[in-house]
Symmetry: C2
Subunit: 354 residues, 2 copies
């Protein structure tokens, strides 16, 4: 029954990262593109389909070593304009001030989030002072407006026009370089439509189509913790998603980026037992010390990590997304015929060549 090698036996499905290593050579040898796994398509993508991530958009978080003394580093990619730039400016200032050094991971809630920052933030007398000059962002900056598709315009459109808009692979908007995989995404419970643009998962329009566009809470996305409205958070308290996409947070919190390496150092932490998953220090639960968080540009050149993402506008990404939605590699029997946007993670890889 289990006569095949380890990797095939017991396999549930072929994961992207592991298989990319294992099957790059297989991919080239196969005749039919339709039989490739998503990771094989990614591995075979030409260099021109990859986009370098600027070191100025990378945050490097160094945690205290684990119990066995192993180093723990997490790399976060910050979002490009027009999204959440006020909070991201604050985060750059906080990193430049080395503000997070000596803070900690304070909250790990199963199937939800890991959160870090000042453990004493809620007690004014003990709270760590924030740097000068942080912006106070308004709630309307949780979404961005799309230049040409105004709410007024969509109100005048027929149902057929709206349908056409929803299925259209391209709109003439601020988001010119939108990917061409939207037909696969179908409709979504949280937005009029979802789309990829410039490497990021986005959504547009609430129950009805309109001009608002926002980033979505997929696994690994990074956001800004906040107090009750109208507070919007400074950027000092940060979380990342470690469970099923909590899309109900979309438009209610600022998303600023995503973890692109080392999320296992966060997702595998012990869960906190206080409400919301905060660590109960009185019961001996241990917050994880943050040694430092730095913009990669502040590191010595040799220590700056280099990453690139698969252009969401490339033909390779379109093939990859199609394969995520319609698995035809050997393990699968029934292709799904679609995928939700958070089940099409944008491929990101570390560049190791000099």
């Amino acid at each position: 029954m289990f006569s095949t090698p380890l990797v095939a036996a017991l396999a549930l499905a072929l994961p992207a990262s592991a298989q990319a290593q294992a099957s790059a050579s297989i991919a080239a040898g196969r005749a039919q593109a339709s039989a490739l796994a998503p990771s094989e398509i990614v591995a075979a993508a030409p260099a021109a389909d990859w986009v370098a991530i600027a070191p100025s958009d990378l945050l490097v978080m160094t945690l205290a070593p684990d119990a066995a003394g192993k180093p723990r580093q997490v790399v976060i990619q910050l979002m490009p304009p027009p999204f959440s730039q006020g909070w991201i400016d604050n985060i750059r200032k906080l990193a430049a001030a080395h503000w997070w050094d000596g803070t900690s991971i304070n909250r790990v809630q199963d199937n939800y989030v890991v959160q870090w920052g000042d453990a004493n933030a809620e007690e004014k007398a003990k709270a760590k002072a924030l740097p000068e000059g942080l912006q106070k962002m308004p709630e309307n900056a949780y979404v961005s407006t799309n230049g040409e598709l105004t709410a007024e315009l969509v109100k005048t459109m027929s149902k057929a026009q709206l349908r056409q808009l929803q299925e259209s692979p391209q709109t003439t908007t601020t988001y010119q370089a939108r990917s061409q995989v939207d037909g696969l995404l179908k409709s979504d419970a949280y937005a009029f439509r979802t789309l990829f643009n410039a490497g990021w998962p986005l959504a547009q329009g609430g129950g009805v189509p309109d001009s608002r566009v926002w980033p979505v809470h997929c696994y690994g996305m990074v956001g800004v913790g906040r107090d009750l409205s109208p507070d919007t958070g400074s950027g000092a308290e940060i979380y990342t998603v470690i469970g099923h996409a909590p899309r109900h947070l979309d438009r209610n919190i600022a998303l600023v980026g995503r973890v692109i390496e080392g999320i296992e150092h966060l997702s595998s932490l012990p869960r906190g037992t206080l409400p919301l998953g905060f660590y109960d220090v009185a019961k001996g639960e241990q917050r994880v010390p943050i040694v430092s968080i730095r913009l990669a540009t502040e590191l010595p050149a040799a220590d700056q990590p280099k990453f690139e993402y698969l252009a969401t506008e490339s033909a390779s990404f379109a093939r990859y997304a199609d394969a995520r939605a319609n698995r035809r590699d050997p393990f699968f029997i029934v292709p799904a015929g679609g995928a939700d946007i958070c089940n099409i993670p944008v491929p990101v890889r570390r560049v190791t060549k000099p």
Copy 2:
């Protein structure tokens, strides 16, 4: 800025389990039901809306204690008919034979699955012998057929009729007691429609409506690992989902249940570094020993855990699902207007009263 108490400050959203404890009393005092959080609605649900889970449907997995010597127990609820009963019969036989005792957790892949069973399953010479009499299940048992809604019938329906069907809260089928929250679920990239029935998240129909119904891969769902098709797995190799719902596995693998307590003992394990997240024992990564897996009915009466779930056909569940899709509690600004089925986890609670 952070003048509110710990639980409100830094809060991203109010989680079900933590808040249920904290705010049951608050719920009773509020005038407007529309302001209740999902967990408050659950906490206020009358006893009649809860359904006891039979001990014969519970598997209790005991892992070796953790590094600090703390016990680790995971409880799994098996699915009711008509789903996956052949595999579930096998699992009952494997548990009765104490087959898993001395096996291990062999695979932990980030944002995907934790898998356990015989670490040597792939090597015939070393593999642990399975009990006699296990059924070999056919692939067509990954789905069940709905008594009255045949594929032939739906082919004759108009678009308007199909729309009505999709939005209908009730159909006269095998799944009589379907919940009334389907309007909230809207459409889905993976199925013609999703629904709750008898406490479980289900989907029906592929790209087009038809009579096939199947359970869906939400966080915490438990399935049967298998080799390449036509193998369907015996039930000896088991996994649970610890990431964003991998819905592409729906209809490709048998789902047999869900973790209802202790998933943090699985989801917080170190990730394996071999392909697919298998532990690299040669590099010192440690498989987690399984002390035992027992049907609860085999345990002494005093040790049998008791659980109940919120009836998905109850008014309380309908209100809970509506609140999951339209958060109106104080933290939220913009209600989503919908939810995907995996973002409406069915509430389950341990019964501690005698």
